[in-house]
């Protein structure tokens, strides 16, 4: 197996009195899909927000391509080629779809926007995600349905060629067809050598798409398995805490 592109070790994070991550390790490999699962409130989103530079970790080491890096701001993460779809989407409701998709990476010519090119690319990317109900790429995000918004957020993340793509419950609000497209997309990204980290509560999806699965339980990484060598029931056991890291069933 290749060297991991991302390697977290001993990551700790607390919010005031609440200690959320208690020394977590995680690896992600180029060309592989790494799933991160766990109960509600286990700390999954907190873990990836740290990777995204949104909420820096309190302690712990992050290695990227084997080098130790600091991720203090989202810009730090972007410079490393990390793209993220956040669970809360993080879209600007007052802007339209194209503006949101290209936010921070607008196409310009002579310093001014090349709206045509951006519209074109937005439209192409959205269609590849099976979006059929969006009437116009110039619709404001505030007028989109929950699933449409999620699609925009995903489209935004895959617009730019990234080295790592992190998806926090990307299909939660999606319909059947859209979910399938996103899973295809995830696989395609990995095949192109991108390291994908996906958070999901849907184990069927996880097993369909992931190479590895990591289970977070109350802020601790209790299992790190190859999907080929484990079962859905096992994983559920780890998630709910009935199975413990030693392998004994509680």
């Amino acid at each position: 197996m290749d060297a991991p592109i991302i390697e977290l070790s001993g990551v700790v994070k607390s919010f005031g009195p609440v200690s959320v991550l208690k020394g977590v390790d995680l690896k992600a490999y180029p060309g592989k899909v790494t799933a991160l699962v766990g109960d509600n409130g286990a700390g999954k989103s907190t873990l990836i927000k740290g990777l995204a530079g949104v909420q820096p970790y309190d302690e712990g080491v992050v290695r990227f391509d084997g080098e130790e890096v600091t991720l203090h701001t989202p810009r730090d993460a972007a410079h490393l080629g990390i793209e993220v779809v956040y669970q809360d989407l993080a879209l600007c409701e007052n802007l339209d779809i194209v503006q949101n998709m290209f936010l921070g990476r607008e196409e310009t010519a002579f310093g001014t926007f090349d709206e045509g090119r951006m519209e074109r690319q937005a439209s192409d990317t959205l269609r590849s995600l099976s979006v059929r109900t969006v009437k116009s790429v110039r619709q404001k995000v505030s007028s989109l349905s929950g699933g449409q918004r999620q699609t925009v957020a995903i489209a935004r993340a895959v617009l730019k060629k990234a080295r790592v793509v992190i998806l926090d419950e990307p299909t939660a609000a999606l319909g059947v067809a859209q979910t399938e497209q996103v899973l295809n997309l995830v696989r395609r990204l990995a095949d192109q050598g991108v390291a994908v980290i996906i958070i999901s509560h849907n184990l069927v999806d996880v097993f369909a798409v992931a190479d590895h699965v990591n289970v977070l339980y109350l802020g601790q990484m209790v299992a790190s398995l190859d999907t080929g060598e484990t079962t859905s029931d096992d994983v559920v056991g780890y998630i709910t805490g009935t199975k413990t890291p030693t392998g004994a069933t509680a």
């Binding site: 990476r105 310009t108 045509g116």
Partner: protein, 427 residues
């Protein structure tokens, strides 16, 4: 910062021909476009429309109440009277779009003008050098505010209120108690008191038409190159026609002799093209550059903007600098009109400036509004003073009427928006 190509999508979707694109609202003929616009308006996206309506209603009212209202002279008066507020309103838009406020913008205008004129009158500076120092001071003030708001994180209301007081102190120290300095620089006085020769007014209109046509066709060419649909070309002609007709009327009226003495007074006041150029540049920046886009993004959702890698602190910071710099221009307009500066210069301006923006449809919560809206809002407020100035009312009544009309103008706005958007929050 440029994209290095998108994820190939051809595997998942058929080769995307133009016909397959998701719409962009540019499709259809004139009829479709007008219908779409009307439906947007009906669903609440009214922009400055209600303010324009308010302006028209007030104009009709005043022209009934005073025979002097609808004269060429009064029309020219209105332009110069509104200029200061228009500038200040536009200055404030940059920070209001971020959901911030600058209560010190008025005294920034005042204090920089105190410095400017004292340097010229007392220290004997060359006026251009002095003006440069005034602008530098404006920029310094904006930098100061921006530092505390964007970097330290103090609410802008408090920082700028502190500065509102502090700069008044500075004015007093510069000008001295009871002090007063006359503006004697012909170039500065000319801004509000002289007019362009009639031919220059027409030339200005031609330039406007050319720039407008130029950008329209450039945009169309770029869109065509990208393979996305363009609005029907008829709309471009209609737009140019409207500009020509409206602008032609304005220039024509202002080119009439409005003097009441033997010497002819005619032409477009010099302040008008200055305002138009700033309006155009500002709008260009807000609509077509990253800087402008990021201002809207931060105003809409600062955290989302930050996550998109936008330098939120930098943009916030510089927006205050832009605001303060444009406030200096407003100060120039003001002293050109008033002819002097004193230790209280600019004290009472700022609330009207904010009101101009709000009446024009700029949201104080950030993320929504345009420079043009503030300009139109300022015209609405200026026309109140202009019209009432023709009516000879005692101060008490004048105050009350000004306040009442302001509320009325805002009501036109609110009611039309709500009627259209559906009274969502009125339970």
């Amino acid at each position: 910062m440029t994209t290095q190509g998108t994820v190939p999508t051809s595997e998942a979707a058929p080769d995307p021909g133009v016909g397959d694109l998701i719409g962009s609202g540019q499709e259809g003929g004139v009829g479709d476009q007008v219908r779409a616009w009307w439906q947007r308006v009906r669903s609440g996206e009214m922009g400055a429309l209600p303010a324009v309506g308010g302006f028209i209603v007030l104009s009709v009212m005043f022209s009934i109440l005073s025979p002097f209202f609808l004269t060429e002279r009064n029309f020219a008066n209105l332009m110069t009277q509104a200029a200061t507020l228009v500038m200040l309103g536009m200055a404030l838009v940059f920070v209001i779009l971020l959901g911030e406020i600058d209560l010190s913008a008025g005294v920034t205008a005042g204090v920089t003008m105190c410095i400017f004129i004292v340097l010229v009158n007392v220290q004997g500076f060359n006026w251009i050098v002095a003006l440069a120092i005034a602008f530098a001071t404006g920029i310094a003030i904006g930098t100061f505010i921006g530092f505390f708001v964007a970097r330290v994180g103090i609410p802008s209301f408090v920082v700028t209120l502190g500065l509102f007081l502090g700069l008044q102190g500075l004015e007093l120290m510069i000008i001295g108690s009871g002090g007063l300095y006359r503006v004697q620089i012909p170039e500065i006085l000319a801004i509000q008191n002289s007019n362009m020769p009639p031919w220059a007014g027409w030339a200005m209109l031609v330039v406007i038409l050319a720039v407008s046509a130029g950008t329209s066709f450039w945009d169309r060419a770029r869109r065509a190159r990208a393979g996305v649909p363009n609005r029907t070309i008829a709309l471009v002609w209609i737009k140019l026609g409207v500009i020509a007709a409206l602008g032609g009327t304005v220039v024509f009226i202002l080119n009439q002799d409005r003097g009441q003495s033997i010497r002819a007074v005619q032409g477009v006041p010099i302040v008008v093209p200055i305002v138009l150029v700033i309006l155009w540049i500002g709008t260009f920046v807000l609509d077509r550059t990253r800087y402008g886009r990021y201002i809207y993004a931060i105003g809409g959702n600062a955290e989302a903007a930050r996550r998109a890698g936008i330098k939120v602190v930098l943009i916030r910071w510089t927006a205050f600098i832009v605001c303060s710099s444009l406030a200096v221009v407003a100060g120039l307009f003001s002293i050109s009109k008033v002819g002097s500066v004193d230790a209280a210069a600019g004290r009472d301006l700022v609330l009207s400036g904010v009101a101009a923006a709000v009446v024009g449809g700029v949201s104080l919560f950030g993320g929504r509004g345009r420079l043009l809206h503030a300009a139109i809002g300022a015209l609405v407020i200026a026309v109140i003073t202009n019209g009432l100035g023709l009516l000879n009312l005692p101060a008490g009544v004048n105050y009350a009427v000004t306040g009442g009309v302001l509320i009325l103008a805002a009501t036109v706005d609110a009611v039309s928006r709500h009627r259209a958007g559906g009274a969502v929050l009125r339970t």
